[in-house]
């Protein structure tokens, strides 16, 4: 190995980017006896050190962090609303005054973080599925593949409507865990938006679709035949409600 060869390999050498141990040894052998190349190596290392120590690492300013959070709705904790009073005042819970009193009691009993907030849970699950690129364990636009896939993994097989004709193609499904229950997550797409539909059997009074939001995401939840459903997406609430209605329409016998 001559100086010219070594010269070409010096960057890879200092960056530890060789996979070939033999090359590393050849470079080192040459360096042992060649002052010129040692000189070059020293200069290279000096420049690296200067760049690493001297160049500023620009961290994102607060203003950028908050505006990104507003766009993406990722929850980073400290800014979360303390308690969603609106949830307790909705008609679904009956008397508004009773709801308020109950809310007050619950608030006292459960310090922040322990209030059973399923909306936050489904939104968190939705975000996680996008973050880890773990949207589906079974990839199929065919409901006849997705539905049986759940059998044997869950003690129920959810209805999996095919809504491609309405602009909501099915992408696949995966297992999830909501409100202490194994759940099915069905993944649909509309334009560039993902929709997770969480399906949790095992109870619940029939309830027609109710919209809500959490952390910038829209949710529509309903209960039918003792199965609870949450559709979560960053889609606008109107489109999401349309989706929910179409979903329900196909699952009705």
């Amino acid at each position: 190995m001559n100086c010219q060869d070594v010269s070409l390999l010096l960057d890879s050498y200092v960056d530890g980017e060789f996979i070939d141990v033999i090359r590393v040894r050849e470079v080192e052998e040459h360096l042992k006896t060649c002052a010129q190349c040692q000189h070059e190596l020293a200069a290279l290392q000096k420049v690296r050190t200067l760049a690493q120590d001297g160049a500023t690492y620009f961290s994102a300013p607060e203003s950028l962090l908050s505006s990104i959070q507003a766009i993406g709705g990722e929850d980073v904790g400290p800014n979360k609303v303390l308690f969603d009073w609106g949830r307790w005042l909705r008609p679904a819970f009956g008397f508004a005054s009773f709801g308020l009193a109950a809310a007050a009691i619950v608030f006292l009993l459960f310090p922040r973080g322990q209030v059973p907030n399923l909306e936050a849970e489904v939104v968190a699950s939705h975000i996680r599925s996008l973050q880890a690129s773990h949207l589906y364990d079974v990839v199929s636009t065919d409901k006849h593949t997705v539905k049986p896939w759940f059998q044997g993994k869950l003690d129920f097989a959810p209805d999996v409507p095919n809504l491609a004709a309405d602009g909501f193609p099915l992408l696949g499904g995966r297992l999830d865990y909501i409100d202490h229950h194994p759940a099915a997550a069905l993944v649909y797409r509309h334009a560039k938006h993902m929709i997770n539909v969480f399906v949790v059997p095992g109870g619940g009074v029939a309830a027609s679709p109710a919209p809500s939001t959490d952390d910038g995401y829209h949710i529509v939840q309903w209960t039918e035949h003792s199965i609870r459903y949450w559709a979560v997406s960053d889609l606008d609430s109107q489109t999401l409600e349309t989706f929910a209605q179409k979903f329900i329409a196909t699952t009705r016998p």
Binding site: E17, V47, L50, G54, A55, F58, A60, I71, R189, M194
Partner: protein
């Protein structure tokens, strides 16, 4: 993938665009595109993926603001004059930092971005190749060029080597 890599994204954008406002704009645009295009994320390195989008966003911003500027253009007005500044006027450390900053800033973007990703983000050649959307060979040759250029600006000319 966006929030955990926000600092990396902003750092890259700030180096490429050279001012805070443009960098914030570019990162915001990138974040929106990342959130919308999220289905195309297939488990490759999240950081490299987001930085690819940030870099493209910077590219577009430069093209729209200064259409005559090519990515490979140097910042002509920024080439530092390093003929015997008197180091005793500054704390040596501060002086070195300033020199490094000016030298790095003067690099054309196609060399600068390699230095940022390699030396400030510690990314591997393979990851860098993914971000700049060029082959590894290109990464290696540009990195070498970038370092040589910095050497010639920052170090004595006789230590620069003849590579």
């Amino acid at each position: 993938m966006v929030l955990p890599n926000l600092n990396a994204g902003y750092n890259l954008a700030r180096w490429l665009l050279r001012n805070d406002q443009d960098a914030e704009d570019a990162v915001q645009t990138a974040a929106v595109r990342a959130f919308q295009g999220i289905e195309s994320y297939r488990g490759s390195d999240g950081k490299a993926w987001f930085l690819t989008i940030v870099r493209r966003s910077c590219h577009n911003l430069i093209r729209s603001k200064r259409p005559a500027t090519a990515w490979e253009d140097g910042m002509e007005d920024d080439i530092p004059d390093l003929n015997n500044p008197d180091p005793e006027q500054f704390v040596l450390r501060e002086f070195e930092r300033e020199q490094v900053m000016r030298a790095m800033t003067s690099l054309p973007n196609h060399l600068k971005e390699i230095m940022v990703l390699r030396e400030l983000e510690g990314m591997s050649y393979k990851e860098i190749a993914e971000v700049i959307e060029h082959p590894i060979g290109t990464v290696m040759s540009r990195l070498s060029k970038a370092r040589l250029k910095l050497q010639s600006i920052l170090l004595d000319s006789d230590a620069g080597g003849t590579r």
